[in-house]
Amino acid sequence: MRHNAAVSANSMIELSDVSKTFRGTDSPAVQSLSLSVEVGETVVLVGPSGCGKTTTLKMINRLIEPTSGSIVIDGTSVTDLPAHELRRGIGYVIQQIGLFPHRTIRRNIATVPGLLGWEKGRVARRIDELAELVDINPDMLDRYPSELSGGERQRIGVARALAADPPVLLMDEPFGAVDPIVRARLQEGLLSLQERLQKTIVLVTHDIDEAILLGDRVAILNVGGHLEQYDTPAEILRSPASPFVADFLGSDRGIKRLSLIPIRDIELEHGPVVRPDADAEEIERVMAATGVDWIAVGSDGQLDGWTPGADVRSAGGLAGVALRPFETTLDISDSLKEALDAVVSSHTSVAAVFEDGRYLGMLSIDTISEEIVQ
């Protein structure tokens, strides 16, 4: 499920003409970047290595100081505060996480509240909240980081970043160091977290698929911090602003778009469905009308199965014909990409779509490819 941010007039983070040239180098790592992040949205900075995405992220919490330009968070310039105070108000998650090995998980999470001087009761309550929020087993709290797995440590890292309830969260390749299965779970976790918390998140990744999945808006950066395109994933996939962007999206850009479209948004076909009491004539008619040589049988929102036309003809009807179940069924909330997968791998070249078990209609490859072409 994707979170769609309503475009509000409130910009949470505003980068204006920000540049960074490192000492001893000639070409700037980031050149005159201007970017605005709305309250509650997730913006993903993505691009090839050397594009300055991590540098840009680190300038927001002043781990790197810009050579020129200004950065404003919630109306206050980042240089108005001492850097360490600024950072206590921003959550920060890095790829290797950097949990403190000499402290228990509990104390790790309590780091920023400790720095801010929260009193013990409040900290304890907050940790319980976070444990529930990020799905941490309470008996993990008194262990040490070396005893945890990579996926667990990642979630602790997120909990730690959220401990003091900062409005802004910065994440630098947070899911890069784990295997794909764990990564997918962590991404899901982040999405559901965002649904509940509505934090302003800036996330850096080199993985365009991750960007499309997680971002409300995606900023595609080229080497030197040049902003090539900054828009919603759907828009970028629909019309890349330059050959660089098209290239970066990959040649399967059209298919990537499908992952953003839920089946809900498409008009489904009724499909060749007849009631169980239909006779051979009616069956032939329906098959001819739909242009297929197989028939599905069902009634009142229930699908019992399908059978090839040949079986019906040789039996002279449905009586005694064994119905085959649909191999893949889709839910109305699935994306067209999953639908494409199902359709391509099924015998019937269609996929049946359901909502809470109730049959709604069918999707054929034609309907799907119409979406790509659009």
């Binding site: 919490n61 950072r87 920023v112 910065l170």
Partner: protein, 211 residues
């Protein structure tokens, strides 16, 4: 004075001289290490000077100090402290250096000031390496304290020197052995205790990994 009392007194003297030297050495080394870590170019000269102090034979060092500070605890301590510096500084710096970069970065990113980060994060994590240095320094100093017998102290080395002076009589051999064995026992006891302290201070260092 009966022998057991003498042995006990000398043991106390030995422990006192050692503890004082390692204690002072640790404080000085911490200060110099912080300087070396903050201003990298100073590490080389610091290592160089402490290295020379370490290389100079203890007897020679005492030879330099006696004209200045006489046959006193001060002379002994200046000499002993000098020996601990190289080992301790090297271990402190190496230990702090070994703190993983991601830990440093996440600490900075969460809003730790550099100073607080040093005391709360870097130093505690470096404790195992630092205590290893303290162990080496302590055992070394325990050995060197015996040489201070030549300037009137010596701890258990007193018996070793006495034994040498009485070498022609059987009691000499006994004295040498007593001095030696007790010194070794003291050194081993110190080493084991410090190892135990290390384990007590770092419950996190010995936990197994989940993956």
């Amino acid at each position: 004075m009966n022998n057991a009392d003498a042995i006990w007194d000398r043991t106390l003297e030995h422990v006192y001289l050692t503890a004082l030297a390692v204690g002072i050495g640790l404080v000085i080394s911490l200060v110099l290490s912080v300087i070396a870590l903050k201003w990298r170019p100073t590490y080389q000269p610091i290592t160089w000077v402490t290295g020379i102090l370490y290389t100079i034979p203890s007897l020679a060092l005492f030879a330099f100090l006696v004209p200045v500070t006489g046959l006193s605890v001060l002379t002994a301590e200046i000499g002993l402290v000098s020996y601990t510096l190289l080992i301790l500084i090297r271990n402190i710096v190496t230990g702090i250096d070994a703190v993983p970069v991601d830990v440093l970065e996440s600490a900075a990113g969460m809003g730790y000031t550099q100073g607080r980060r040093f005391w709360d994060i870097e130093l505690p994590i470096a404790v195992p390496v630092i205590i290893t240095g303290i162990r080496i320094a302590t055992v070394t100093v325990i050995g060197l304290v015996t040489v201070t017998s030549l300037i009137g102290l010596g701890g258990l080395g007193f018996f070793i020197l006495r034994g040498l002076q009485n070498f022609s009589s059987p009691i000499g051999t006994t004295q040498i052995f007593i001095g030696t064995i007790l010194s070794v026992v003291l050194a081993v006891a110190a080493d084991v205790s410090l190892a135990g302290i290390e384990r007590w201070l770092t419950p996190w260092a010995n936990r197994g990994a989940a993956e």
